[in-house]
């Protein structure tokens, strides 16, 4: 069964940072360019994230995500450069089409904003095992029942995908067409989806009973299967990020 998460198991210092600190880093990478809106600051934030991704040895895994994002960003650059309201200064004239300076500047802001946020999230997603993140959050006070719900998604989806491929083969062997005109393809949607959905919904009843028998609703404090991991640097990194944020606010207000 194929896992759906993008997590990559590697040995690196980024993998050794605790998940909560990585969450703070996402917040940090989003807030700093809002406090100090300049291209230099955005570029520094983006650069930091990319350096961390390189150190985590996961750069290759980021390429599919980046290529999707860049595909959309190219259309942003073209559309804003050509049509943004308030375009005045012509930068580039190609026959009848003109690219404008204001639109391109605005598009550049968006390019930085999007790549910045996506990179910060990828540090969390590519270097943190989902179950570690959930466990860290539960230790911080999240309800263990919600924790169970999140972790079980990572089990249920591969299970449902296996059922799905069985059903797809079964329906095809009965002559269902999955290619051709739009109407043919739309008609195929229900016979594919229906059995998986009904089956998995009905299974929830058994799952609920199995959980209740095992004390899922018990009010006693829950214990953990794994011992709590200690992360020596997390305090320090969080403090540095806090100081930098305060400095950024001060910079914005007094300079």
């Amino acid at each position: 069964m194929k896992s759906i998460s993008l997590f990559v198991e590697r040995e690196s210092f980024v993998h050794g940072i605790d998940p909560i600190t990585k969450l703070y880093y996402i917040l940090f990478a989003i807030i700093i360019p809002i406090i100090l809106p300049s291209f230099t600051i955005s570029a520094i934030c983006l650069g930091t994230s990319i350096i961390l991704l390189i150190f985590a040895k996961v750069m290759r895994k980021t390429l599919p995500v980046y290529s999707f994002v860049f595909f959309v960003l190219i259309t942003v650059v073209i559309i804003q450069g050509l049509f943004k309201p308030g375009n005045e200064t012509v930068l580039l004239q190609l026959g009848p089409v003109a690219m404008y300076k204001e639109g391109l500047q605005f598009a550049l802001t968006i390019v930085f904003r999007v790549t910045n946020i996506v990179s910060a999230f990828m540090i969390l997603v590519l270097t943190t095992k989902p179950s570690d993140l959930v466990e860290a959050l539960v230790r911080k006070g999240m309800s263990p029942r919600i924790g169970y719900v999140i972790v079980s998604v990572f089990q249920i989806i591969p299970e449902m995908m296996t059922t799905m491929s069985t059903i797809m083969d079964a329906q095809r062997s009965r002559g269902m067409e999955t290619e051709g005109k739009l109407l043919v393809r739309i008609k195929a949607f229900i016979p594919l989806l229906g059995p998986v959905v009904l089956g998995s919904l009905i299974n929830t009843k058994e799952r609920a009973m199995a959980l209740e028998v095992r004390g899922f609703n018990s009010r006693n404090p829950k214990t953990y299967l794994n011992e709590e991991k200690t992360y020596p640097n997390s305090r320090f990194i969080q403090a540095v990020m806090l100081v930098l944020t305060v400095c950024a606010v001060a910079w914005r207000m007094f300079l």
Partner: protein, 200 residues
């Protein structure tokens, strides 16, 4: 239909177990739409079903968790968690008020939910992408309106509208069909005045 328990924060085990399945159904819906190369996303069937069965809070929770989990395969979807929450809430409220009780009404509800999703997504699109959605047809319309008027908001709203309304309409109709096909003793599990049989 019991209105008192609509906003209850005490989840039964059955309602909690419904959430991962809802996320799975969303995933499968999106996957099949991809395999069949349909021009829609169809990735919120699970959220809608969870809201129909478990009420607005379970629907909203399913929507939020759905986008958080998708975020582990595609970080952009974290941003749209708010839209999913709004869809879950809207379906749950409409359904618990008894509004979705026939195919005609389900169509109207689908349109309403499409509008809700559009209104919530548009500010996110403007803040994140400068107004675009990433869907080819919608973005072509966006460029056309931006070239002819001065309003990014109008262009972005219509961009989202042409993509979202047909999608959500179809999603609500499919979910309603599935809901009607569910065995009654299963639906009853979620419908007994906040009381789930426990084995005490």
């Amino acid at each position: 239909m019991n209105n008192q328990s609509m906003w209850s924060l005490k989840f039964s085990t059955a309602a909690l177990v419904l959430i991962p399945v809802a996320v799975g159904i969303n995933y499968i819906g999106k996957f099949i739409a991809g395999v069949l190369k349909l021009p829609l996303w169809l990735d919120s069937i699970g959220t809608v079903l969870a809201a129909m069965l478990g009420g607005p809070i379970v629907g909203a929770l399913a929507g939020a968790i759905n986008n958080i989990i998708y975020g582990f395969t595609d970080p952009i979807s974290f941003v749209y968690a708010i839209t999913s929450v709004a869809i879950g809430l809207a379906v749950g409220i409409l359904f618990y008020k008894g509004f979705i009780s026939g195919w005609g009404k389900a169509m109207v509800a689908g349109l309403i939910i499409g509008l809700v999703a559009t209104v919530v997504s548009t500010p996110l699109n403007i803040g994140f992408w400068g107004g675009q959605t990433g869907n080819v047809w919608g973005d072509a319309l966006f460029a056309f309106i931006l070239a002819n008027t001065d309003s990014t908001w109008l262009a972005s709203l219509l961009d989202e509208l042409v993509v979202d309304v047909p999608d959500k309409l179809l999603v609500v109709l499919i979910s309603y069909g599935i809901y009607k096909g569910l065995p009654r003793n299963f639906v009853q599990l979620y419908n007994n005045n906040d009381k789930v049989e426990t084995l005490d």
